[in-house]
């Protein structure tokens, strides 16, 4: 027998004897994905995960040359962009992929929301997913400061200032975030620690739980499709994950690679001007696009509403909005059997429209 076997078979058997791969392989071969008119949304979770790996890969490469101190950060990024071979490629991919990842994450979040995939038994998947959402936004915010240019310095200043609006713990929060009272080199060190150590650690933990839950519970089928299946239109068809769905996934990932390569080569991420702690803020400072709707809302809120501080109310409103999203599986119980679920869809539409409109306004103003 030993002679007729190929190398891969030998390898497989060697590992299986020690790790018992058989059960894992069996599970993976049985893994199936429902096929229906809303199946396209299934791709976005994997897409976000793929982009996360791109971030980890390019991020690790960047640590080879990046220097996290106020005196050297900007110059080290300039060095990467000009002197390091393909440094421009790695850095631009990292910056573009961050934005792409947050975009796919938003799509993933809202597609799950509207398809009500958060319903029983997937409440924990949703909760861990929401945790990941918050962590990824934190990744974006902390990473944005690291090039230490004018835009990132002031965006961080404004963003951390907003944390100060939270009642009671606001000032403490600001000091915690900034490593002091102002945005300085101490902030940079701290944000770097968040960005490459603390946040990755937390994401690894929560992501593992999230992905394991998805594996355990399989893909959720939208209520309507389920009902059609029960009504006799035939059971919901399945395709095997390996190789069908996986190859589709791979196709999508290659398309994303092509997009990233084109963006990095044709629209390289700019270096900007080095941050000057003593210069006044340039006009029109705003955070990255994924925060603009919040930023713009705060700008529109009047200073006082019914005697209370407008900004505090704004922060509270967003906090409540986040809490609502986090708890939606527990608020919208049994969406299959209650018409109240329409209300939640309506709220979801409102949130999406609000975010889009405020973002556009934030760029027009």
């Amino acid at each position: 027998m030993a002679r007729g076997k190929g190398l891969s078979t030998t390898l497989y058997e060697w590992i299986d004897e020690r790790v018992q791969l058989e059960s894992l392989i069996h599970f993976l071969s049985k893994k199936a994905v429902p096929q229906h008119r809303h199946s396209v949304w299934y791709y976005f979770g994997g897409m976000t995960l793929f982009l996360f790996f791109v971030q980890v890969g390019t991020g690790i490469l960047l640590t080879m040359y990046y220097r996290p101190s106020a005196e050297e950060a900007y110059e080290s990024v300039q060095f990467i962009m000009t002197e390091v071979r393909f440094g421009w490629l790695i850095r631009s991919i990292h910056s573009w992929s961050a934005n792409l990842m947050i975009a796919t994450m938003f799509i993933h979040l809202f597609s799950v929301y509207f398809l009500k995939a958060y319903r029983k038994p997937r409440e924990l998947t949703w909760v861990t997913g929401f945790g990941l959402f918050a962590l990824v936004l934190a990744f974006g915010f902390s990473g944005y400061l690291l090039p230490w240019n004018e835009l990132s310095f002031f965006a961080t200043k404004v963003g951390t200032e907003i944390a100060g609006i939270v009642p009671f713990v606001g000032r403490f929060l600001v000091r915690l975030l900034r490593g002091g009272d102002d945005v300085t080199g101490a902030t940079l060190s701290r944000f770097y620690g968040f960005h490459i150590a603390i946040l990755p650690g937390m994401v690894t933990l929560i992501l593992t739980i999230h992905v394991l839950l998805v594996q355990r519970l399989g893909m959720s089928v939208p209520i309507k499709v389920e009902k059609e299946g029960e009504a006799g239109h035939g059971p919901v068809k399945d395709v095997p994950f390996f190789p069908n769905f996986f190859l589709h996934d791979l196709l999508g990932w290659y398309v994303v690679i092509a997009v990233l390569a084109a963006l990095a080569a044709l629209m390289p991420w700019e270096l900007g001007k080095k941050a000057d702690l003593f210069a006044p803020a340039p006009a029109g400072i705003r955070p990255e696009w994924y925060f603009v709707y919040m930023f713009q809302t705060l700008k529109f809120i009047p200073a006082k509403i019914l005697g209370m501080d407008g900004e505090v109310l704004g922060i509270l409103a967003f906090g409540l909005g986040g809490l609502f999203l986090l708890l939606v599986p527990f608020l919208d119980r049994d969406p299959a059997h209650h018409r109240r679920t329409r209300l939640f869809s309506g709220i979801g539409v409102f949130i999406v429209v609000y975010i889009i409109v405020l973002t556009i306004v934030g760029y027009r103003v």
Partner: protein
């Protein structure tokens, strides 16, 4: 067309199928090379060792004679390294505070002078004569063997 057992054991290997598989593995292989080639090149250290930072090393700086000055590049702006008649090293931004011309050292009077409109600074960078409204920005100077290390103050 292909009336083979459909137990899904070994797939029918038509020439087209094997060609497709060959194409797929080759192109995926090529894409992996296209990804790892830049990564490998990236990890190879570039010729210019390190980024120019907020501190600049003036190689063999200590060869500068007393009572003379030398212009050097500091980040993206010019700086002037001065050695006083007593032999002490000092460094300043070489950008004149009047209209941003580059200053120079004047041996005859042991002062820093701007040729554009006759602005004069003393050896502490203070504006003592002519149009300049402010002193020159002072940098920190340290000696390290043969080299002079200048950094922002």
């Amino acid at each position: 067309m292909n009336s083979q057992p459909t137990q899904g054991t070994s797939p029918i290997e038509t020439p087209r199928r094997s060609f497709l598989s060959f194409l797929l593995s080759t192109s995926i292989g090529a894409s992996i090379v296209a990804i790892f080639y830049p990564v490998l090149k990236y990890l190879t250290p570039p010729k210019t060792g390190e980024p120019a930072t907020a501190s600049v090393v003036i190689a063999k700086g200590n060869e500068l004679k007393s009572n003379s000055g030398q212009i050097f590049k500091f980040g993206s702006k010019p700086g002037i390294l001065v050695r006083t008649p007593d032999g002490e090293f000092r460094a300043f931004s070489a950008i004149c505070t009047h209209l941003e011309c580059t200053v120079q050292y004047k041996k005859e009077t042991s002062q820093i002078w701007c040729a554009c409109h006759n602005g004069i600074y003393d050896l502490s960078g203070r504006n003592v004569s002519g149009p300049p409204p402010r002193p020159l920005e002072t940098f920190k100077v340290n000696l390290r063997g043969e080299d002079v290390v200048v950094s922002k103050g």
